[in-house]
Assembly symmetry: C2
Homo-oligomer: 153 residues x 2
């Protein structure tokens, strides 16, 4: 499995999230041996949980599986630039590499706004690779919000 196929898995999770009426963002967590250990899409509405972003769901699932608060050597793939909440959770979990697709000027916390990884109060920053399958992820998000506007939601 290459990083593009992991991002395709994350995009599949984003599409499934859209089908559930959730903002289409998906994430995949891969361990140090290259095995997918968790994959999820947003479930904030279904779970009535504002913290149930795709990234948080895969981190919690992988930590539970590993019986550890930390995931050294793991790689996180996500279809949208993480918000400040998810970026801080990625740091707390000591995730080694972050791959994300679309940029998020509106709510992102990595390359925008809070820029979580760029302060001394952040005690671990992952390697960051952005722009992978960005067009596909952006189209998914734009279509979702356009459809909702067309429905008057």
């Amino acid at each position: 499995m290459t990083f593009t196929s992991h991002m395709q898995t994350a995009l599949d999770e984003a599409r499934k999230a859209a089908d559930r009426g959730e903002v289409p963002v998906g994430a995949v967590l891969v361990d140090a041996r290259g095995q997918v250990v968790a994959q999820a899409g947003n479930r904030t509405r279904e779970l009535h949980d504002p913290t149930a972003h795709a990234e948080i769901l895969v981190i919690r699932a992988a930590c539970a599986a590993a019986q550890s608060e930390r995931l050294p050597g793991y790689s996180l793939y996500v279809t949208l630039e993480p918000c400040a909440m998810c970026a801080t959770a990625i740091s707390a979990a000591r995730i080694a590499r972050l791959y994300y697709a679309a940029s998020d000027p509106k709510s992102g916390g990595v390359a925008h706004g809070a820029r979580v990884f760029s302060h001394p109060q952040c005690h671990h920053a992952p390697e960051i690779y952005d722009g992978i399958a960005a067009h596909e992820a952006e189209t998914l998000l734009k279509t979702f919000f356009q459809d909702r506007r067309d429905m008057g939601a």
Copy 2:
């Protein structure tokens, strides 16, 4: 119940966290009618969950109880300045007021570092009241870390 007694409840949760070997931070969430709807201390070690900060635990519990992603009119009391993860979750949950005790120059994300509420990417900022029972909360944290150093942890 006044804000000082809610902070005392949060301090009690912080003490119970210390007794469990967790970093002593406690939080209390109060609804718009002034009723305590959730209280918790850190459980990151016990739950093997880096997101299980006191603030996240009370937000998730209160949202589950309210069957809503949002907690408008609610007040959050916490013994330490929230990190960027918790500050962003507070924003996402649309919590109205944030009361915190000790300042956290090392890992805080409200008055330090990421300063989550101060960017346009943050779509809701609570009213913030800091310094309540700060000395008590600081002493609790200092004693915890001093004890751990003395034990060679």
